[in-house]
Amino acid sequence: MTLLDLPSATGPHHPAATPFRGDTDPLRYLDEHGAPVEGGLRPSEEELAPERLMEVYRALRLARAFDTEATALVMQGHLAVYPSSRGQEACQAAAALAIEPQDWLFPTYRDTAALAVRGIDPAEALTLLRGSWHCGYDPKRWRTAPQCTPLATQAPHAVGLALAAKLAGDPVVALCLLGDGATSEGDFHEACNSAAVYQAPVVFFVQNNQYAISVPLRKQTHALSLADKAVGYGMPGVRVDGNDVIALSHVLGEAVRRAREGEGPTLVEAVTYRIQPHTNADDATRYRDRHEVDIWLARDPVDRLAKYLTATGNLDDTLDAAIGEENTRYTTRMRAELTGEPEVDPAEMFEYVYAAPTPQLRAQRQMVEQGMTADEAGE
């Protein structure tokens, strides 16, 4: 089945004439109670294999555990800031699992849980948010770009990397993570357009979590669907339930396959929700009702898959508890690595600005190092 065969989320079924922009029309496999929906997506047997779904479930649980621990760490002052992805674990897990080790991930600041699922050490993944350096992991080893904070500016990089791989003849795909706010940026438009012109192997994956800090989607766009934007670029656009990890994995898997097989870029919009405020420094009660959050809490992506796996006889309390213990060991280690004062070296500020330092930087480095010496001597 190709994407073009999927029941259209944006075609004739779309309530284009109404102001309603609900979440009823994205593609789905599971309903909110974890039961397959009638007339929904039909993933392959392979995609529904219990071993595969248990791998996905473990990733969801890891993303949740990671996010919960990071949130606690920032509240306790061990991180400089933390933008939570709670409620978006299906997006985080599905993104990390959709690509192969040779593929490249282009994450944003809200995608640290995806980095953890990709296998990056939590302390390295959280270096940016701890504030001890900018990017704490080796991007080449993990085929993962530094987390991007200026919105949508990583999208042209994903296009360039994908184009480079295409020119080199390598079967490498770039998966670019974005939020709903980023779709208003010029770089998003330029990247989508260029990717389509170059037929670059890129997947643009928009996690539409309904808010850009405080600004709701209705103030971000007048379009009824972010996936619709793909039409203007001449690429497929798919709108999928971002809290249904089975549907999401199916859609992302197909988008990655298309890219790898030379069929060009795809825009995927996952409809989800940011349960937490923008960051720990934000106060979401100023711009949204608790009632709205409660509605989305009931659509929890982790619970949804758990219910399905339990109903299909693949998950029980014992196994669930074992996964919990595994994650507790993970977060205990994570906490141990991230509490306490990080070691920083002021000389490192000069080390990587250029391949070889300019005479001016050599002089400034010496000045800082002399200052350090004076501090150490208590002068």
């Binding site: 990017c135 530094p146 042209p156 360039g160 990397l161 080199a168």
Partner: protein, 353 residues
């Protein structure tokens, strides 16, 4: 050796497409080469020397660029090495960054100075910082070629001098040639550099000429060059202000002033040693550039000279620059440009001090 004799020797050497046997000629044959041709040859030689080099931008393919700097490259190297892009400067530079992440060495063209601004965020937030933020894991061997400056009768948005915006950003090298030799060699050096280089091409000099044989080698990025030696004052210039300074120095010699002309070549890294040595010799410094003077690159030069040569200075460091106004329409631009006369006025003031 006369140009005619050179051409004859070259023809003989390659007669029938076969090199004649025997020792190489004692001197390389010299021909007239334009600044634009030197840039074009530098790109061609870089593409031939390294498969990782790719050239792209608006109209650089079949057309060969609006100034023809990429003329013939797509035909010779194919559209996988030299290609047209959508009209989207942020995407052009962002694409270059992504390609560099994968190991390529992109050389991108921004069609005109003022049309490069959409790429500014990519330049400041990513190109300049990528090596640093990844502790050296993702170096950015990217060259951004930008035709800049006025004096060509260009209408609005075609004559900006935007070097100070870039030079203010740590992590980028900023280079601008003033001679045909440097057009070739500095571009080769920029493409070979492991660091990102913004290569400002003084578009008024595109059609300037020199008799030489490419390839040529000059000094490395980060070094200035004395274009004229003198004892009384140093004119510090770069890009298309260098010929203005040289002409002013010739005129000044008629009044008995012996001026030194220093061509910076590289704004970042800045050659403090050469500037300081020259001003220590002459005791006077006058900076000449086309960009608006207020908070311009000349202010940085003046500050550095003052910090290093204060007790040797016979006069305040002066600046002869563009006016602090938006670049004027072509019928008015001669009022704006730092002319030989304005340089000479500054020389008079410095010498009178």
């Amino acid at each position: 050796m006369t140009p005619t004799a050179t051409a004859t020797a070259a023809d003989k050497e390659t007669a029938g497409g076969v090199r004649t046997a025997g020792p190489a000629p004692a001197a390389a044959p010299r021909t007239t080469v334009t600044f634009a041709k030197a840039l074009n040859t530098a790109l061609r030689d870089a593409l031939a020397a390294d498969d990782r080099v790719v050239v792209f931008g608006e109209d650089v393919g079949e057309l060969g660029g609006v100034f023809r700097i990429t003329d013939g490259l797509a035909a010779e190297f194919g559209e996988r090495r030299c290609f047209d892009t959508p009209l989207a400067e942020a995407s052009i530079l962002g694409t270059a960054i992504g390609m560099a992440m994968y190991g390529y060495r992109p050389v991108v063209e921004m069609q005109f100075d003022a049309f490069a601004y959409p790429a500014f965020e990519q330049l400041v937030s990513h190109l300049a910082k990528m090596r640093n933020r990844t502790r050296g894991a993702l170096p950015m061997p990217v060259v951004i070629r930008i035709p800049y400056g006025g004096g060509i009768g260009g209408v609005e948005h075609h004559s900006d001098s935007s070097e100070a915006y870039v030079a203010h950003t740590p992590g980028i090298h900023v280079v601008t040639p003033a001679t045909v030799e440097d057009a070739y060699w500095l571009l080769r050096a920029a493409i070979a550099s492991p660091d990102p280089v913004v290569f400002f091409e003084p578009k008024r000099l595109y059609w300037s000429k020199a008799a030489l044989q490419l390839p040529v080698t000059t000094g490395p990025i980060g070094t200035a060059a004395v274009r004229r030696q003198g004892r009384d004052a140093t004119l510090i210039a770069y890009g298309q202000s260098v010929p203005v300074a040289l002409e002013a120095a010739e005129h000044a010699s008629e009044y008995g002033y012996d001026l030194e002309v220093l061509d910076l070549r590289s704004l970042v890294p800045f050659d403090d040693a050469a500037v300081t040595a020259s001003v220590e010799r002459t005791g006077r410094a006058i900076v000449v550039h086309e960009a608006a003077g207020f908070a311009g690159f000349g202010a940085e030069i003046a500050a550095r000279v003052s910090e290093r040569c204060f007790y040797r200075l016979e006069a305040p460091v002066l600046r002869v620059t563009g006016l602090d106004i938006p670049y004027p329409p072509p019928k008015l631009e001669h009022w704006y440009l730092p002319s030989v006369d304005r340089v000479l006025d500054a020389v008079e003031r410095a010498m009178a001090a």
